[in-house]
């Protein structure tokens, strides 16, 4: 072990009481869902203090954004919440469009809704499989990951990549969806309600699952709000707040869907809320597929939007035009904007400050997972050490977005 071994930090917090045991969990631990490190001080099996340690996946995205054009930053948003990159793509595109004061055409809005809801289902499938696996329910993992492969096939067909989607552009999307692809999404939408019933049959009334999740990691509504918790974790505590309802974007006001809320704020309620959210997402996808209009998917503004690829390959003007946007970028008016979207983990906000240049002067990423994870200490102190994994799993942190 070299000099940077984290042992010093472990010893540092174990000084208060001589009768406690300090253990180190992570950053390479299967139940921390990424590179989260938690230092736990135990009295027997009870957690006396919990100290999360972050930053192992910090890549300085906010600094990078200040040194890239707006379009160049879109691939970085893939790598924030890597379980739902499409949702972050949409969030960033909306923020820049807000700064520019433009709105995308109707077909693009519906396509973005389809992307966001597919991302939500995909992210919740991973959460369901892995958090159940953490508590010993290994079967769930195989069921949800099978369906998640199906969902990934859809995303790959649309964007060309499973994870690094980079599907949105400022003012539109990279390319239109084909009718065949929409038919394949329809098949997925038709099958999912039955699949969700299957998941529920395995867990919702399962005695072991109930004993491991009910009353665990309780978070009151007041505490959840104070911690800045958003998304399913906040709603499980009984607060009906969803950015899609509070500040609708991409035409979410046109869809008929419910915001599920819990009452207890425990791990079980978070499970129920996310399960119901998947059903609501399926319903939104169903409505989107029924109502998707024709027409263009991009704004008609050659200063912002890239020309079509076939034209670039045949015409000199279009080639120069493409070259200019890619190398030089486009300027946004001076001003500042905070745009929030409801990603699977909660409220993802981009606070962009522009001085009128081609890169943001400041790009603050308000991470949903970061704020949700800050409530971990409150949830686990005084609880049993075995419940720490249940709490982490139910918060559903993705360290790519926590550390940025």
């Amino acid at each position: 072990m070299n000099g940077t071994c984290p042992r010093e930090a472990v010893i540092e917090i174990a000084t208060e009481r001589p009768d406690t045991l300090t253990i180190n969990m992570g950053p390479s631990h299967p139940a921390t869902h990424g590179v989260l490190r938690v230092v736990l001080e135990l009295d027997g099996e009870t957690v006396v203090s919990c100290r999360p340690d972050l930053g192992f996946l910090h890549r300085g995205m906010e600094k990078i954004a200040e040194n890239r054009t707006y379009l160049q930053f879109i691939p970085y948003t893939d790598r924030m919440d890597y379980l739902s990159p499409l949702a972050a793509n949409v969030g960033f595109a909306l923020a820049v469009e807000g700064l520019l004061g433009i709105e995308v055409p109707a077909r693009c809005q519906v396509l973005r809704v389809i992307c966001c809801e597919l991302a939500r289902i995909g992210s919740h499938l991973v959460w369901l499989g892995t958090s159940a696996l953490d508590l010993g329910a290994a079967t769930m993992f195989f069921h949800t990951f099978k369906d998640r492969e199906w969902h990934y096939d859809l995303i790959e067909d649309l964007t060309g990549a499973r994870l690094t989607t980079s599907y949105t552009r400022v003012g539109g999307v990279a390319h239109d969806a084909t009718p065949e692809w929409l038919k394949r999404v329809r098949a997925f939408v038709d099958a999912m309600p039955g699949r969700i019933d299957d998941y529920e049959a395995l867990l919702t009334k399962n005695t072991i699952w109930l004993k491991r999740t009910q009353g665990i990691g309780r978070l009151s509504a007041a505490d959840a709000l104070s911690f800045g918790v958003t998304g399913p974790v906040l709603r499980a505590s009984g607060v009906s707040y969803d950015v899609r309802k509070a500040k609708p974007y991409s035409g979410y006001q046109n869809y008929d869907f419910e915001v599920p809320v819990g009452t207890e704020g425990d791990v079980y309620d978070r499970y129920l809320v996310r399960i119901e959210e998947m059903r609501q997402s399926v319903s939104i996808l169903d409505q989107a597929l029924k109502t998707i209009p024709g027409g263009p998917v991009n704004v008609d503004d050659p200063k912002i939007f890239l020309p079509e690829k076939p034209k670039v390959l045949r015409s000199m003007e279009e080639l120069i035009h493409q070259f200019m946007i890619v190398t030089e970028g486009f300027a946004c008016p001076a001003g500042e904007i905070y745009v929030a979207t409801e990603v699977p983990k909660g409220e993802l906000g981009f606070y962009l400050v522009s001085e009128g240049g081609k890169s943001p002067y400041r790009c603050r990423i308000r991470s949903s997972a970061f704020n949700n994870l800050s409530s971990l200490k409150h949830q686990v102190e005084g609880e049993l050490v075995a419940d720490v994994v249940a709490c982490i799993g139910s918060i559903d942190p993705v360290m790519g977005e926590v550390d940025r």
């Binding site: 930090a9 972050l54 930053g55 910090h58 300085g60 906010e62 600094k63 990078i64 200040e66 040194n67 807000g98 700064l99 004061g101 505490d223 709000l225 104070s226 911690f227 800045g228 607060v239 707040y241 509070a246 500040k247 001076a334 001003g335 500042e336 904007i337 905070y338 929030a340 409220e347 906000g349 606070y351 400050v353 002067y361 400041r362 603050r364 308000r366 970061f370 704020n371 800050s374 409530s375 409150h378 550390d403 940025r404």
Partner: protein
């Protein structure tokens, strides 16, 4: 941009209540902001949280922007949100390179990690913060990466 748009009732109320503490206010794309005297940061934020007419019950985010050519150079930016009124507000205060500015941790627990990150990235000290340590960068790191004088590459 430096004039208030319609729908900025909360800023108007804030100006009426704290005439001498609100030094500047404005709107851009239907979002409203107010610059607060840094010395009265905690007092103004507390009023915004507790007064029934504003009721900003959630601190969404705290961060900063570094303007090296301005005096004072660091702008602290807090985003507040009111669930009951479905309304957001951007609160700013201007401080020196190392602050100091009062911590909002007595009002909201979300200030804890977000202020630690702001300290980590900009070097601003939040007085009254219970545990002001770096959060993303290693403990032995000496710079504050989001300050503008720090280059993207050091090679």
């Amino acid at each position: 941009m430096r004039t208030l748009a319609e729908g900025a009732q909360a800023v108007l109320k804030l100006q009426a209540r704290f005439k001498d503490a609100v030094t500047e206010a404005g709107s851009f794309r239907d979002q409203h902001w107010a610059v607060i005297d840094a010395k009265r940061w905690l007092e103004v934020a507390g009023w915004l949280r507790d007064d029934e007419s504003t009721d900003y019950n959630v601190l969404v985010d705290i961060t900063a922007v570094h303007w090296p050519h301005r005096d004072p150079p660091v702008e602290i930016v807090a985003h507040l949100y009111s669930h009951s009124r479905n309304d957001g507000l951007r609160l700013k205060a201007r401080v020196g390179d190392a602050g100091p500015i009062a911590s909002l941790t007595p009002l909201w627990k979300s200030a804890d990690w977000n202020e630690r990150e702001t300290f980590d990235m900009f070097g601003v000290v939040f007085t009254g913060h219970p545990d002001l340590r770096r959060i993303l960068m290693p403990d032995d790191y000496t710079d504050h990466p989001l300050r503008k004088e720090l280059p993207l590459y050091r090679g």
